[in-house]
Symmetry: C2
Subunit: 298 residues, 2 copies
């Protein structure tokens, strides 16, 4: 009886408006925003490349196989997010430092167990493989104040390129993991081995993607850190070995220039003896600066 | 020895360039184009909404469950593509008609078996449920020339909202499917029942998404068609019933205005008797126009 009924049917031109409008009644405004934006960008992609029906079918098949490769000990969609740089982007935009604190990088999939509590100076290399290395550093706040009793959680792959959780039958439990507490000057130190580069799991769909695009699956040598202290923002990061292969082509884009350190050989018999290390040995120094936790006004 | 080495490490600003550059050695230029564009749009989405780590984790979990819901008889990623309008967009950009031929719409997941060959006038409703309906039409070329012996493949859900392949134990094999050949005037006709609206499978992750966004899972009443003739471009489409619920909110965005037809009740005892139908009965008329196949110059 009134004016003509206006129906917005789907068309190439109106596609993302029509689909976006279907989410208008979403109770959660954030979910509505996420889906509306996702649809717009996804449709823009399809239009930009003029996606063919065959390519769409291959994408459906790839995503299906990616989901079906996941299990209790394998997360292939995280790997996909990693090799497309999405994980690093999410990590980076959620931990902007403003250049005043240690930069973050990806957590990675191997922090699935609690690190064993260890004493400063302990050796985390339980399998004895690799080049001995003294790792040390200091945790401070933004004004250089030492953070006493800060937690420093570290983990790394062994000489063969695997984390302990990947080789429960071959590595001692807790190999190359440790949870330390900084001393009265905010310092930490422990014995380990020089980290090695290693490949991400590449026997699934993501490995096929890397293969089809001429990309290798390697990550440059690194040691994982989570540093945390009450009243400060924790940081999840790595320290990278300066002369490692793949430093400029990390399969998951985790490298930031500020996180690269030289691992020097030291010839100092007295220092070696003090730390129960063979002489010569290697050293890796990594200081971490944490931002203060934001105090919200009431 | 030369100038300083230039390394492009990841940063928020350079993210899509750095990741895009990782695909520079992709042997297939089309794959390189697809991935570079995908990364750009995906990163733009993450930046536009400032995706949180928690939301990223929920997305990883959703995609994983979507992949794991897929089986031989269920394709949850196609459903996801459908409810985000991606399937319709791909269909539409790959079958632009220029307004001169019958518009296409999605194939859907239920054309998984060959339709049984039937004679003009046959009844495809083998279970006898529903409101009897005479379906007829004409297949022509762009200048109105009748396409004699064109294939007309049709399939629809039954009165309960299921296709035969969804209910192998409840419906006769080939129920509501038929492959017809047009007569010497390009005409086809057969007996069926008035199509009904029905829900897409909504007991998986995609159903949860619809639920969380206040969307229903229904498709308006429709009858699927594939029309094909030698020398012409085949068309995959539906005809929609004009007064069906959900016509303006199809869960998969398949409706195009040009594909909607009235399904009128006819009171004509002579015509009913001629077609072996009870009187009164319903009629649905759908003419299809195919484009000529493009002839490529040598």
């Amino acid at each position: 009886m009134g004016g003509p009924e206006i129906r917005e049917y789907f068309s190439e031109e109106r596609a993302s408006q029509v689909v976006g409008a279907s989410f208008a009644d979403t109770p959660d405004p954030r979910l509505r925003q996420l889906l509306t934006s996702l649809v717009r960008h996804l449709h823009d992609f399809v239009k930009d490349v003029d996606l063919t029906e065959r390519e769409w079918g291959l994408a459906i098949d790839f995503l299906t196989r990616t989901g079906q490769t996941c299990s209790d000990v394998r997360q292939e969609f995280i790997l996909l997010s990693d090799v497309l740089g999405v994980s690093m982007l999410v990590e980076t935009i959620n931990h902007r430092t403003g250049g005043t604190s240690t930069e973050s990088t990806v957590l990675g999939p191997f922090h699935m167990v609690e690190s064993p509590v260890r004493e400063l100076g302990d050796n985390i290399s339980l399998d004895g493989k690799g080049i001995p290395c003294l790792v040390s550093g200091k945790v401070t706040g933004p004004d250089g104040e030492p953070l006493v009793g800060a937690n420093v959680d570290v983990w790394q792959a062994n000489e063969d390129g695997f984390y302990d959780v990947q080789q429960p039958d071959l590595q001692p439990q807790g190999n190359l993991r440790g949870l330390f507490s900084t001393d009265e000057h905010g310092r930490f130190w422990f014995r380990s081995v020089v980290p090695r580069f290693y490949p991400i799991p590449d026997d699934g769909p993501v490995g096929q993607l890397l293969d089809a695009t001429g990309r290798h699956p390697y990550r440059p040598a690194h040691l994982h850190f989570i540093a945390a202290a009450p009243g400060y923002q924790p940081v999840t990061t790595h320290v990278f070995v300066a002369d490692s292969p793949y430093l400029d082509s990390d399969a998951v884009f985790g490298v930031k220039e500020s996180l690269i350190r030289d691992v020097a050989e030291v010839d100092d018999p007295a220092l070696a003896a003090k730390h129960h290390l063979p002489n010569p040995f290697h050293t890796l120094t990594f200081d971490l600066t944490l931002l203060r936790q934001v105090q919200w006004a009431p």
